[in-house]
Symmetry: C2
Subunit: 349 residues, 2 copies
DNA sequence: TCCTGGCACTCTGTAGGGATGAGTGCTAAA
DNA sequence: TTTAGCACTCATCCCTACAGAGTGCCAGGA
């Protein structure tokens, strides 16, 4: 696997092999390449070049007399050598715009819509990670008494996302009492990011303990329940949509075992989350091709991902998962456009 | 296909074939049956009986020299002839008890948990239909102002289920104003089922129009937005969990086409809902075997379903979907136990 | 009349062999 | 350096042969 600079001719041929394989899912022969490239070369010459490409690790050979197929390295070369990505068709852009509901929405719904949108347009599996609660900035908090010793905490984040959580009360507060507390809490914590609030609460509680202001103490306890995240609960939050699209891919219908292993990888969200986390603070589209992701069961898959933001804060990641043999330019455009639209939506409001 | 009363011997043999096939997924031969039943009959005799059973439509023959496999009719006979269903193992019952969160919960979460529970314990696809909003009885309603011209309506139903919906306001009400309205609305409509509220609203609005009480008029408009269902939105509400369990069934891994057709059936929730609707007001476990359900793509599947209730009101249906070759007694016990636990939970609070 | 042993028959699944076709690898000549 | 040509390699398809599983049927026995 000698790492060598490819000649221009080799690059053209490699690109052609990749494009062809992406289209057909069949190994590509030298004759096909000779016909498709306009280099005016005979199949025999192409064969020599392809043989070199195989030596350098860009192509592989299922068996002697089959055509060549791209390796992960070849896809990587192909993706890196892509120049301008052609934009999506107008209808698709419109579809993206229209899919998002306007106004404040619950985060689950929004992410659900996004993953459905991605899987629909890509015809592959769509992937969305929920915003890390640590990155949420509190805008407004409210408690509603549901029944004795139980209330719902509703809070809206700066990005206009609605979160709600049901909390058990130590004491049976009236709605009035709850309103008093929210008044105080909003004044105190509005505009702060959640992790900061967390530490502020600790500080306040220590102080209040001395002064012993019962109301404030209670307010602190409540807000802790409402806003402070138990690490394990919302940390595994990835939404996958359209996983059945995987069933349509010829490479997987032919090989049920591959398919099953992919689905089993889908079931372990925490591993997916690890991959996503690394993309979160990246710029633009991130692509993981084949075994570039460390999930063994997904070594036949590529991920195309893009962070989405509120202002400058990266909230989460969205993307698609499909076979390594996917239409990268299209997927990149799609994922980027969706991330942009979602980010704009979250930023504007 | 002569419909005839089966002899006791034929029944025993038929049951044995069904049980065997459920266990192995392989056609069952006469020798196997001879060994398994303690009738003291030779394979040849068994063969004669099996041949009769084939004539009467209970067994089928993939080809001359294969064993017999049960038809849908045979499964139906088997299910009907089941006597006492053995209860679930203690750990499984405990698992069911523990899976449900206590206290008020959002309906989506509750149903999600239920479908996951069902699919986990059955190792098949779990199915839960959301309560028809028409059957919900209002206990408490609240509005929270989120930002200008936008509020969240939160209402708790008698079964302790939390619903919330974001509504756009025609006028920019203050929170105070909203509270006034909720006070009135709760007094007026608390304890009524939603369809009744719907018609009451219409009545009130007509009356208010004459008296022209602005506050009440506004309250009516708001509650209409909050409580009255747009037919199409929440009507397709079925949650499927663990559909990938289908991948594990040998009959489907062997036949990718069957598998794909089942998954495509899963994608069209409205057809599932039709089936479910018919079960909603039934008593106890309902079973649809193979083509007893009208979804062509699911003719290799059986559904075991059970309505769940709040008091006497049937709210929705839960169940499992698996291959016709499923362990009916176990699934029946599982589905019944889950429905009971959920119903109790919804009734008690 | 019912049961059973025996045997022929049928069908599947697997293995082997030959033909076909796609595609490569190599070589010698341009 | 390129290319034409040819030998070679596999995969695939089709056919045949064969073993194994299981039935269908018949004739004899209880």
């Amino acid at each position: 696997m000698v790492e060598a600079k490819l000649s221009e001719r080799a690059e053209i041929i490699l690109r052609t092999v990749v494009q062809n394989y992406i289209g057909t899912a069949e190994p590509v022969g030298s004759r096909t390449i000779a016909k498709m490239t306009h280099l005016g070369l005979s199949p025999a010459t192409i064969r020599n070049v392809m043989s070199d490409l195989e030596d350098t690790g860009y192509l592989s050979h299922p068996h002697t007399s089959a055509g060549r197929m791209p390796t992960d390295l070849a896809y990587r070369f192909y993706v890196n050598s892509l120049g301008e990505i052609p934009p999506l068709a107008r209808e698709e852009l419109e579809k993206i715009e229209q899919s998002f509901p306007s106004g404040v929405r619950e985060i689950d719904d929004l992410m659900e819509v996004t993953s459905r949108l991605l899987s629909f347009l890509s015809q592959q599996a769509g992937l969305v990670s929920l915003p890390d609660v640590r990155s949420v900035v509190l805008k407004h908090l409210e408690f509603i008494r549901l029944r004795p010793y139980q209330a719902m905490a509703v809070f809206v984040s700066e990005s206009g996302i609605l979160h709600n959580r049901i909390i058990e009360l130590d004491e049976d507060f009236t709605q009035e009492k709850l309103d008093q507390m929210t008044g105080y809490l909003n004044a105190e914590f509005g505009g702060m990011p959640l992790p900061r609030i967390r530490s502020e609460i600790v500080k306040h509680m220590a102080r209040e303990k001395e002064q012993y202001d019962q109301l404030l103490m209670n307010a602190m306890r409540l807000s802790q329940k409402a806003l402070v995240q138990e690490e394990n609960v919302e940390s595994g939050q990835v939404i996958l949509g359209g996983t059945t699209n995987i069933l349509k891919q010829p490479e997987f219908t032919a090989d049920v075992d591959k398919m099953r292993s992919i689905f089993s990888a889908f079931e372990d969200k925490s591993r997916l989350l690890k991959i996503i986390d690394r993309v979160l603070h990246g710029q633009g589209v991130s692509i993981l091709i084949g075994s570039e992701n460390e999930i063994q069961e997904m070594k036949n898959c590529s991920l195309v991902m893009h962070p989405y933001t509120c202002g400058d804060r990266a909230l989460g990641v969205l993307g698609v998962i499909g076979p390594t043999r996917m239409e990268y330019p299209r997927m990149m455009a799609l994922v980027a456009a969706t991330a942009q639209t979602l980010s704009r939506l979250l930023t504007e409001r």
